[in-house]
């Protein structure tokens, strides 16, 4: 298992996908710098909340779901070229382990991106001259929560990327699911049940701060956990049966 992870990591390094890791935090940084947080309405206890809110809208709602799909395609790119699946699966590895290794690497990469995003939140705050104390707990909740909310999305995108050779097709599927999230987050009825709206809900600060995350535990378990199980098992089974 460690060996497969190592080889996946090596392939990822060579594919220059690592540069993509900086794309999200940089996008967040630019948005944060453009928006003048001092002009935002609403009286907040802590100005860091405002900085995070203004950056999260674009980042968590659109960028995070979309970029997970791009990473998933990137991670399958080597295998799709010139019979890579055949070579990989001819090694003494099981298909299940390959799938799990790719998945684990993907979520690790997303975690790295989230941490970099935290860094860009910090930079935006410094540039805007926020003097309030840095709300470490809340920000960590938001960063980690957003990360966990991408688990089902990553599982689905990994499955689809294994299925299709082209980059555009998985991306198109991803877009079709991500766009309705813009409407879903405005709806009290559908928002909590739509997996693609969860990264935003999890990163949105202002929910019940008593809980571990910003959405209730049962919602986290049923919507995020449930869709994760469905997508992961489907992708896993599909890969077992895929003809290479």
């Amino acid at each position: 298992m460690i060996g497969i992870l190592g080889s996946e990591w090596y392939k990822l390094q060579k594919s220059k996908a690592i540069f993509l890791l900086f794309a999200g935090p940089i996008a967040g940084l630019l948005i944060g710098l453009v928006v003048d947080i001092n002009l935002l309405p609403g009286e907040a206890i802590n100005k860091w909340h405002l900085a995070l809110l203004s950056m999260n809208l674009n980042y968590a709602l659109l960028f995070l779901p979309l970029i997970t799909g791009v990473f998933a395609s990137m991670i399958c790119r080597y295998e799709h070229q010139a019979g890579g699946w055949k070579q990989l699966l001819a090694m003494p590895v099981t298909r299940g382990k390959v799938f799990i290794a790719k998945y684990l690497l993907l979520v690790t990469v997303i975690l790295g991106m989230q941490i970099l995003y935290l860094g860009s939140v910090f930079v935006v705050g410094i540039v805007h001259g926020i003097t309030d104390p840095f709300p470490m707990v809340i920000v960590w909740k938001s960063i980690l929560g957003g990360w966990i909310a991408t688990f089902p999305l990553v599982a689905l995108q990994l499955g689809i990327s294994i299925m299709w050779k082209s980059f555009a097709a998985p991306f198109a599927v991803n877009v079709c699911f991500t766009l309705p999230a813009i409407l879903a987050i405005n709806s009290d009825r559908f928002g909590p049940y739509y997996p693609w709206a969860q990264p935003f809900s999890m990163m949105y600060i202002g929910g019940n701060t008593e809980d571990v995350f910003f959405i209730p535990w049962d919602q986290l378990l049923t919507v995020v956990g449930g869709s994760f199980l469905i997508f992961f098992i489907c992708g896993y089974l599909y890969f077992q049966r895929k003809a290479v």
């Binding site: 948005i31 659109l62 960028f63 082209s166 555009a168 198109a172 877009v175 766009l179």
Partner: protein, 236 residues
């Protein structure tokens, strides 16, 4: 010659899901309004006196955005058709100029997007009629808000086609596309010179026509730059 190239490019996109996406884009934009109006029709109708104008503004809140996404997806599809089968080499070995190859790809994409825009006008008209928004149907406005964003997005199309055809790794054009989407989603805070703002038809003069003219001019310029670069590059 260009006619035949276009015909073969149209043939190549058959059964790849591209026609489906061309239909899905405008349908999705109107479907979002179906959900929107379905859930809170009474509230939305209260928002303004001119229900048609308000409805069109709602539709066109999403259309620039869908257009940018569609451009990113379609251009990457176009390039990967050739990339996956090493088709560029075979294509350039034919007695056709690289200029014509590039032009034909661009033409097919423009056709597809134009079709999407017409479909958008038709879909939004039908749903508007279904909603019973009033007897005076603003046909001209409907057509304007479907075609103008398309014309204003030509620079984005030229840029994406350029990036997609010259990069071997299609992750690059898709990432550029994701950035475009993020930018067009926050169009109202962008400065006027950014091409991703133009499809939203917003500008400081409040005159959509300026975006269209900018789109046509800079679309042509970016197209030429992309084509020249494509011609000078080695075939991989």
């Amino acid at each position: 010659m260009i006619g035949k190239l276009v015909a073969q490019d149209v043939l190549k996109i058959k059964r790849k899901g591209i026609w489906f996406l061309t239909f899905l884009g405008p349908f999705g934009v109107v479907a979002l309004q179906m959900v929107n109006y379905g859930v809170r029709k009474a509230y939305l109708l209260q928002q303004s006196d001119d229900d048609w104008a308000y409805y069109i503004s709602n539709v066109s809140a999403f259309s620039p955005f869908a257009l940018i996404l569609g451009i990113a997806i379609l251009t990457s599809f176009m390039a990967s058709i050739e990339n996956e089968t090493n088709g560029w080499k075979q294509l350039t070995a034919l007695p056709v100029s690289k200029m014509a190859i590039y032009l034909s790809k661009f033409t097919v994409l423009v056709m597809l997007l134009f079709l999407s825009s017409i479909l958008l006008a038709l879909f939004s008209l039908s749903y508007g009629v279904f909603l019973n928004l009033g007897d005076e149907i603003p046909y001209l406005e409907l057509l304007k808000y479907s075609i103008y964003p398309f014309l204003a997005s030509l620079p984005v199309l030229a840029l994406q086609l350029w990036v997609a055809t010259v990069s071997k790794n299609q992750g690059i054009p898709i990432t550029v596309g994701v950035f475009g989407v993020i930018l067009s989603y926050s169009a109202y805070v962008l400065p006027d010179w950014m091409i991703w703002k133009w499809p939203s038809l917003l500008n400081q003069w409040n005159e959509p026509m300026i975006n269209v003219l900018f789109g046509l001019t800079f679309g042509a310029i970016l197209y030429v730059i992309g084509m020249v670069d494509f011609m000078r590059r080695d075939v991989k």
